[in-house]
Symmetry: C2
Subunit: 291 residues, 2 copies
């Protein structure tokens, strides 16, 4: 069994981006990070994005509207960032307060600055295999983990557990694409799937993104499979100072010994999302040709 | 074995649309049919669309630019139709001459008039399960055939053969949606799939859209399956006046006796595409609230 080390791979990507930015004259890539309110998880995510941007030599502009901001005001803010020639990428941190329509906000971000990949146009471009778009960070990170771990999906059966818009569907479309490394035969399972273990056991590559702690057990996995665990679930753990520990959607202890390769939680898919956000930002910056 | 009669179902839909249009006061729905050049298949398709539009009481405006039209001129034409308040839907008949970028043309059509469902935004909306968009006519027609034949995909294994942008991918996304009639577990197979018969034999519902005449044979189908044949292939047939006959992607003779339900070719999925085009046009007309 080989551990797929997301921290290591994410660091390698960051180093590549850093070298590219350092070598380019003129204006550095700039990402606008919009965080509405003080949700503790959002505070920590945005801080991590800001820190990683700084490490690679990109500029981040953190904008912190109060939780009371209206949707119209948030739209106006996004419009101004869309129009700002010094901003390459825009990230609006999710979740947003309940009085704001999140999908409408994601659609307001100009597709060419949508480094989060949540705009409808960028989602459509994933289906179209149009590389001018931006792929959402988690599915992009999964594909990059596979690629850099030498896993070629060609002729493989890829089973995706979960049909979310942010992970399941886009990663299925990516695994299916007619390009080197992809070309998988893809099955998408979900809460409504009958005889789920029959499907998961037939997977050469199993991508678990169902949001249920330690749901995938050893009897559900084919020996020799590659397992990508997208879940990040908090479960109570009295032995921890915080009172909880993080576990994935896979019961790591029992499944790992069966696998050819597996991602741990934490330290697997998680670190890749920030790396992909910055990769998208650098792509946007390159694309705009403004250096 | 029950035959799924596409002609009958398409006629029922046309009758419903006709009744809705007849009951509405004011302006009737209008579809602009743009056909570039004189490709014989396109001539016949556009004629059929025009005829069916007339039958249901919709207006069609046929525009016939010469094959020499430039991309810029075609864009200008589309822009004028986008801006025309009396036009609800716009269809640009494919294929276009080689000097024109077809995807760019489809993107030029305003998403709210894109009754063909080929605009990137409408494709993204299928993934988002956003019903404000337009679903491309063939996948929409397949779902409608299943619904009106009483086939509920919930808990079923739906195997899609073919990953095209026009059929395979959107129908997979539709079959997967979290809504009544859908909720299938979906596998997408294609030319790169290893052990294809293992997948097709596990299908409760098999959707063949691979463009290979009579490719699916009896040994590839589970007894009791529902089979939707999307293929329309010409094969030589000296006994026909035309010198060819139309066959699907399924070897009907041997497969049909095994099936619970199956669509014939012709007369299955084919007639549904025009019905769905007009259904989309009526939806656009309703949505614009201009009667």
């Amino acid at each position: 069994m080989e551990l797929i080390d997301g921290n290591h791979i994410a660091a390698a990507i960051a180093a590549e981006l850093k070298a590219e930015i350092a070598a380019a004259p003129g204006r550095k890539p700039c990402i606008a990070l919009v965080r509405v309110g003080e949700d503790p998880a959002s505070v920590s995510y945005v801080k991590k994005k800001e820190k990683t941007a700084a490490e690679i030599g990109a500029v981040s502009r953190v904008i912190l509207p109060p939780v009371t901001i209206s949707q119209a005001e948030l739209f106006a803010l996004i419009d101004s960032l869309n129009a700002d020639a010094t901003v390459d990428g825009i990230l609006v941190q999710s979740p947003l307060p309940k009085h704001i329509d999140e999908v409408a906000v994601f659609r307001r971000v100009a597709p060419e600055k949508d480094v989060d990949g949540f705009n409808t146009v960028n989602l459509g471009k994933v289906a179209q295999e149009d590389e001018t778009g931006f792929v959402a960070c988690t599915p992009a990170g999964i594909m990059e983990l596979l690629r850099r771990s030498g896993v070629d999906l060609k002729g493989k059966h890829v089973v995706v557990l979960g049909r979310s818009l942010i992970v399941g569907k886009p990663v299925a479309l990516l695994a299916l694409q007619k390009r080197a490394g992809a070309n998988g035969t893809v099955t998408i399972c979900h809460s409504g799937t009958a005889n789920l273990p029959v499907f998961t056991r037939s997977a050469d590559v199993l991508i678990a993104a169902i949001g249920r702690p330690e749901f995938v057990t050893a009897d559900m996995v084919k020996p020799g499979a590659v397992v990508i665990d997208v879940g990040i679930n908090r479960v109570a753990d009295a032995s921890k100072k915080t009172g909880y520990k993080l576990v994935g959607d896979v019961h790591f202890e029992s499944v790992a010994p069966l696998c050819a390769k597996i991602t741990p939680v934490p330290g697997g898919v998680g670190p890749m999302t920030v790396a992909m956000l910055l990769q998208n930002t650098v792509k946007a910056w390159r694309g705009r040709g403004v250096r």
